[in-house]
Amino acid sequence: MTQYALYLNYEFCTGCHSCEVACRNEKKIPLGDFGMKLLEDRPRQHADGSWHWDYIAYPTELCDLCADRVAEGKMPSCVQMCQAKCLHFGTIEECAAMLAEKGEKAAIFLP
């Protein structure tokens, strides 16, 4: 059976929270709980003066990668609504290929 995953290019995750709200709408998750959760590693300056500030959106155990939507030929809700277009859905192999191509600041998630 084909196994799917989410690929996140977190160099460009802007922290907009759209995935969280889109997921909650889709999976009818009550406020306060999450199927997609946005984490922030808050801004700080490295010793050389350069900056660090990352957001990472990741799927929790409530995520089923929108199996119903995917069966209808749609994208998972979080991927469709992602404003930065930094979230992608595909097979593990497709996601791994994106990861290898990106080479940095990217991750694959299996909820």
Binding site: R44, W53, M75, Q83, A84
Partner: protein, 818 residues
Amino acid sequence: MAEAVTQVGNETIWRTCAWSPPGCHPVGCGLLVHVEDGKVTKVEGDPEHPITRGALCTRCLALPEYMYHPDRVIHPMKRAKEDRGLDKWEQCSWDEAIDIIVTNAKEISEKYGHETIAVFGGTGREGNDYYSTYANCIFGTPNAVYAQPGWSCYGPRASITAFMMGGGYPEIDYAQKCAQRYDDPRFVAPGVIVLWGKEPLRSNPDGLFGHSIVEMMQRFGTKLIMVDPRMTWIGTRSEYVLQLRPGTDTAMAMAWINVIAEEDLYDHEFVEKWTYGFDEMVAACKEMTPEKAAEICGVDAEEIRGAARLYATTHPSSLCWGLAVDQSPNGVQLGQCLLALMSITGDLDAPGGTTLGAGDVHAANAARDDSVGSAADDRDASDYADRLEESESYPNQMEIAITYAYQYGLMTEERYAKKIGVDKYPAIGAIMWTVAPDEFLKALETEVPYKMHMAMFQSSNPVGSAIAGEPQRWRNALRKLDFCFATDLFMNPTIMACADVFLPLCTTVEHDAVVVPHYSMNISFFGAERRCVQVGECKSEMEIMLLLGKRLFPQYWGQFEDEIAYLKSKSGALDWDDLKEKVCYTNVENYYKYKTGELRPDHQPGFPTQTGRVELYSYAYQAFGESPVPYYEEPAYGPIATPELMKDYPFVLTTGARKQEFFHSEHKQVPSLRAITPWPEMDINPADAAELGIEEGDWVEMASPYGKCRQRARVTPTIKKGVVHAMHGWSYPEESGEEPSLFGNWRSNVNCLLPNSVNGKLGFGDTFKCMICSCKKVDGPGEHPSPSEAEVYVEPSRQKPAEVVGQIWRPADAPEYN
């Protein structure tokens, strides 16, 4: 392409484009609205929308929570005048509500004159298209009011562009006017984009879909340069971040021009053929070396050089200007420099450069000779643009209003000349259809040149925490009026304090309308907003205009059977019936329109200015009493201008950075959105916080000579030492709406710290992004101070003593204006 409306089992799915309400500017994001049993169950992004392609921000994702919120007002309401400030509203019928308004408007017009009625509009909601229509074409008053000191939002940028280029609005190129978007063979991605005083991911853009910049960074490796007092997330992904002292942007921009001229990095051919006064502008910037700007702005001189070089030597490069241009008294000069920077690279209206709009001739005509409706426009033929007849482009909605008011006799030239404040600040009246706001507040208070008697509030909340400076003054002045009414969706501080009738409005998915990015000044597409459901007895602004118009000015409004007839009449040649089926038309335009004659009504090459060129040396500025070339002026409050005051108010204060989950004073009652940002936050540097004993999450009281407020500390190195940033737009809908609380309006309202009348010479700009304040740790949110406690009137600069109201203190008078 999916149908506009599809049926899936019990569910109807509508494709539509968003505008407002709830608050948003005309970005026109694509929605899929799921409806079951007449109720919206879910909103998604529309993957087929050419610009947003499925993306959607949290405000529209949470739309059902907003639409069906228990506090939403869904029936008309009335309240006795003596109960203003008390929650003694009574539901009434539309007939009764309209009767009350019509009776009062007629009485007041007959007794005191139409001009004693004011119509307030706010920022960029769809209602923006209508408030001058209500004013000019229903109530017959010239006094449409945008209540922000110095008209400090978009209007200055639009005016500056009209003065220097003849009209329109410049926007970065993100293939928004290419039929195949990024894949279009004509499109080249910007190599570098400058974000000047603009955070496009969080801002409430007027037509720019901000995340397209992140798309271009990923697809094309587009690089960024930020000029901003704050380090932002997108700043951490930029090549340069020039973190300048708030309010010193003009010095920085002049230094860029200095570097680009000095090092010969400009496009000689463009400068020679298409600009006027380059040498004079360069001469004006000669003294502003990077070293001098470094001293003023607090940014390393080599960083300034490096950023200017990167911008000027990368082609194509694009420049995105933001609210910082509008919100400083020196902003008119900043805008002049930034338009110069967009031009002298040669990348103006080039693929990947800074685009111009072919609809620009409208504003140009208005700015030049008040001729209305004569604009001709033969844009590039495309599948859709063919539908727009050659002689008629998409009409400017505000021009329509005044034209008909004259034509049908509701407005006279004599009465229009009574528009308040534009005699003092004629530049504000040049292309903006409103009063000069700071002058209007004084007129309300002093009853000079005449006493006002009635107000309508439409998409505006001037007693609240977003638009006004010193909202305590607006509250007191507006309470004096004989009659006030409002159209809105939720009760707010202004309506609770001042209004007598409340008319409930529709959201964007409850009415039919057209959304046009940049208010038709730089059109990337035309989108249909659709009536997917009805909520309560809510009506759209267009429906309400018809109800009132047919009673008050039937000579004009009588011709429209319903709001769709009106919508069609005001859409020019745009075919509504076709648009609503297709949902969205891309407005395909040529590049280099100044070469093809598409910018000028006479179809000659060039810009629609007096010289036919981009006027870097501005005759329009000169005609309005401003210097024709840029100069730097220190912020009215700050370490240089008011060193004595800095002892009591040691921080430079900048305000109003956006959160995408809120639109100004709206949205705080929407659970999913409030959960993202539950409290108002002020940013303070860790070193300053440590000195003051402030820790993350502590309540901090900020005060200026004008007032005070409390917000919670976000201790962060992203703001420099000595500077703080405070959020705008906060009140607490969960608290009592009655006076004196007004939904906790005075607790966290940073606008209470911000004065009126600190304007530039043209009347534009104020201190929203360049004020001073003190900070101290406090135990908690505290009780809400009453507005009378915060009532401190101060008139800082450029005001003659005779014009000053309740003045107790004048810190920053510049001798040349006395």
